[in-house]
């Protein structure tokens, strides 16, 4: 059996908006003599859109109408209908995520792009998606090494650290190619971002708005920016400006990182340099790329070639956001997709006690999800056990049933996500507890954490598995 899923990725970044279409291939990898095990075996990008500037209205809001036209236009060019899109993600990144109407645009666009196209946002997720799109996680797995990918866009540099295919850490810095803009014709500085202004002042660099500049004039500030990037990957001890330039957090840096890769618009000018006019985009992107290319990052670390540069984030959104659940699961709910469900992940202490402990932990923690005293839909996540006994499954089911009482009153479906392979029996047990009257969705083999959201799509592969997207929804 071989099944294909058509997936769309849309990236609305600080400076550009793009779209890709990918095909995800799904196969049953188990022999015919055991329980099925469906996995995504291949991901291929089948269409890459034009790259357009992210349309912003005069009042600094995102022009959603224009983006919808862009999406429609690209679907037409690719020769597909919206109904054919089975999964995918829209990600809103960089400064665009900080616009007033970011949330609203994101949600309306995800619905517009397809039935199960999910909305995502957040600096950590952005780093992960870009690194996956750049192929950093595959590189670390194939070479059995650690690698940091820096996705350098217009407004931010997103870092993600992978070791042997596993994500270790993420970070984000306010360093980008469009933080200083230079008029292409007059060579006058037209914009300096606030944090960069602060850096210029602290270092006494002679640069002001309206000043006519040459690449040599910009050299000192570019060196400062490169130094901060070197600090961010542990090549230098953090200086006095490091904490200021960090967006939300940096990497933990408790171990040396041997390899590095670059993605984002600036990356093209790190990997190659063949331009006549360094100000052709009206910003310092090309110069920043050059400065990084001759820095210690390329000299002291092994540079891996990114499989995608400027399209890394959009390819990541299209090809690397959808996962599939374990293949032995329970769902009685019929109205998929279920979108934007926050996760409540229980602690090991909650799980290791009796059913009563589990129940009271759940009902306590459900209070975190009350908005004006109104409980939202919540998915409960737990570790489970590797090889549980039937008694232990009963314990889990009793605890969940009791603890989720408040969700049941609201007529919400019971959504349970367990890490170990036990979802089918746990789901059936819960369903029995509910007298087969309320709906249950119980899936396994998916990693989630507090702060994550989950989207669950329509069953695929003859109903055996559910496509899921684990994501964050953070607007700065």
């Amino acid at each position: 059996m071989n099944e294909e899923l058509l997936s769309v990725g849309i990236d609305m970044g600080t400076s550009t908006t793009q779209l890709v279409l990918s095909k995800l291939h799904i196969q049953n990898m188990a022999s015919s003599f055991s329980v099925p095990r469906l996995v995504i075996t291949d991901k291929e990008v089948v269409y890459r859109s034009d790259i357009c500037f992210t349309p912003v209205l005069e009042d600094n809001r995102i022009d959603v109408g224009e983006i919808q036209t862009f999406v429609q236009e690209q679907y037409r060019k690719a020769g597909i209908r919206k109904e054919e899109i089975q999964t995918g993600a829209v990600i809103i990144t960089g400064e665009t995520a900080r616009k007033d109407n970011a949330n609203e645009v994101l949600l309306s666009l995800s619905g517009f792009a397809g039935d199960f196209v999910v909305a995502t946002a957040g600096p950590d997720l952005e780093s992960i998606i870009a690194a996956k799109g750049a192929g950093a996680h595959t590189y670390s797995k194939e070479h059995s090494t650690s690698i940091v990918n820096i996705d350098i866009g217009g407004g931010t540099s997103n870092l993600a650290l992978f070791s042997s295919g596993e994500l270790l850490d993420t970070g984000c810095l306010d360093i980008g190619g469009r933080l200083i803009r230079v008029d292409q014709v007059t060579r006058e500085i037209t914009y300096i971002a606030p944090k960069i202004k602060q850096l210029i002042a602290r270092r006494d660099i002679p640069l002001t708005l309206g000043q006519k500049v040459t690449p040599t004039d910009l050299e000192p500030i570019l060196q400062e920016m490169v130094a901060l990037l070197e600090e961010s990957v542990g090549l230098r001890p953090p200086g006095d400006f490091y904490d200021i330039i960090v967006t939300n957090k940096g990497l933990k840096l408790d171990r040396a990182i041997p390899c590095i890769s670059f993605s984002g618009g600036v990356a093209d000018y790190i990997y190659q340099d063949s331009v006549d006019d360094v100000f052709q985009f009206g910003d310092i992107g090309i110069l920043l790329g050059r400065a990084i290319a001759s820095s210690s990052m390329t000299q002291l670390m092994t540079v891996a070639t990114a499989v995608e540069t400027i399209r890394a984030t959009v390819v990541g959104a299209g090809s690397h956001t959808t996962e599939i659940s374990g293949s032995t699961i329970t769902y009685t709910e019929k109205s998929f997709p279920i979108k934007n469900i926050p996760i409540l992940k229980l602690s090991m202490a909650d799980e290791s006690g009796s059913a009563e402990v589990l129940a009271s932990a759940i009902s306590d923690k459900l209070n975190w999800f009350k908005l004006n005293n109104d409980l939202q839909k919540v998915a409960i996540a737990l570790e489970g056990k590797k090889n549980p006994s039937f008694q232990e499954v009963q314990k889990y089911a009793n605890g969940l049933h009791k603890g989720m009482a408040e969700l049941l009153e609201k007529e919400y479906p019971l959504i349970v996500i367990v890490r170990h392979d036990m979802a089918k029996v746990l789901g059936q047990t819960l369903y029995a507890r509910l007298d087969y009257k309320k709906d249950v969705v119980c899936i396994d083999s998916v990693h989630v954490d507090n702060g994550d959201y989950i989207d669950i799509g329509k069953p695929i592969a003859g109903g055996k598995v559910l496509p899921v997207v684990i994501k964050t929804l953070v607007f700065n």
Partner: protein
């Protein structure tokens, strides 16, 4: 071959394998505990609480005996993916003592699983209806597969009396080649199957336990009970990875002499493979699908 002969043959092979030195060692090991049992030496009766570590408790996938590997992490990663005994190192041209002992311990567990019986207490505890095939003992069971798939007419009558005729499903348990697999998994898989079937409104009646059971014995059970689906939970031939692996053979209206291709099998049910409870939930759904589609084996397109 008599069990005794077999035992002495294996013993002599092992002696040759490990050489004379350990013959002495084995002897001293054998004689020491005999001494400790003598009541005339009261100081040894005092239990110091000390005992040898159980070498079968060691997780082989995490044990790398290569003393100075070039890439320890990479080696262990490789070992994570296979139960094969990689990186066992050597003493001269031979296995190290641990490897050799562990091999023999695992082999012994496999043999025990084949030659031991599911305890009667266990059969009682699980409320199973006990029957046996035409085999009189383990030797006949091993050497006469044809008898392991037949029942006497008395047994068939007994079976008919203690099961529901024309039930939707008849579940049966067989010792097969591993009694250890049955004792390890049955407590968890049976309630999971029953609970899953209940969800579809299907009742599990009395469950049969078949001693000296070969897989095709389910065909005779099928004919005797006239159940729509027969599901046999049977101990798999044990290997050196686990002696506790169980399979479920499931067929829609099985008949004696039907092609093997009409059986659906779910194998590798053990703590390191598919968990028993999860397999039970899956089997319940599979049985329901078979009843709905009136087919099993390769006739059933899943």
């Amino acid at each position: 071959m008599e069990e005794k002969d077999l035992k002495s043959m294996i013993e002599s092979i092992l002696m040759e394998m490990v050489g004379n030195k350990s013959e002495e060692a084995t002897e001293s090991v054998l004689t020491e505990p005999a001494q400790t049992n003598r009541p005339t030496e009261p100081e040894v009766v005092e239990d110091s609480g000390e005992c040898l570590d159980d070498i079968t408790e060691v997780d082989l996938r995490k044990l790398l005996l290569v003393p100075d590997p070039e890439d320890r992490e990479g080696y262990l990663k490789m070992k994570e993916k296979t139960p094969a005994r990689l990186g066992v190192w050597r003493a001269g041209p031979r296995y190290k003592t641990f490897t050799s002992l562990r091999f023999r311990a695992d082999h012994a567990a496999a043999q025990d699983a084949v030659f031991s019986y599911v305890s009667e207490d266990f059969v009682k505890e699980m409320n199973l209806v006990a029957v046996e095939t035409m085999c009189r003992d383990k030797d006949e069971y091993i050497t006469r597969p044809d008898l392991g798939r037949q029942f006497s007419s008395d047994t068939i009558e007994y079976m008919k009396k203690h099961t529901t005729n024309k039930a939707k499903v008849q579940i049966m348990v067989g010792d097969g080649l591993s009694s250890a697999a049955i004792e390890a998994n049955l407590r968890d898989i049976v309630p999971a199957i029953a609970q899953g079937l209940k969800m579809y409104g299907i009742e599990v009646g009395n469950i049969l336990f078949v001693k000296h059971c070969r897989v095709p014995s389910m065909d005779m059970v099928g004919e005797a009970t006239e159940a729509d689906v027969v599901c046999l939970l049977v101990g798999e031939r044990p290997g050196l990875v686990t002696a506790e692996s169980m399979s479920a053979y499931i067929a829609y209206k099985p008949t004696v002499g039907m092609p093997e291709a009409r059986r659906t099998v779910i194998s590798n049910i053990h703590s390191g493979g598919t968990p028993a409870v999860e397999a039970g939930a899956h089997i319940a759904e599979l049985i329901k699908t078979m009843i709905d589609r009136k087919a099993s084996g390769i006739d059933l397109k899943l």
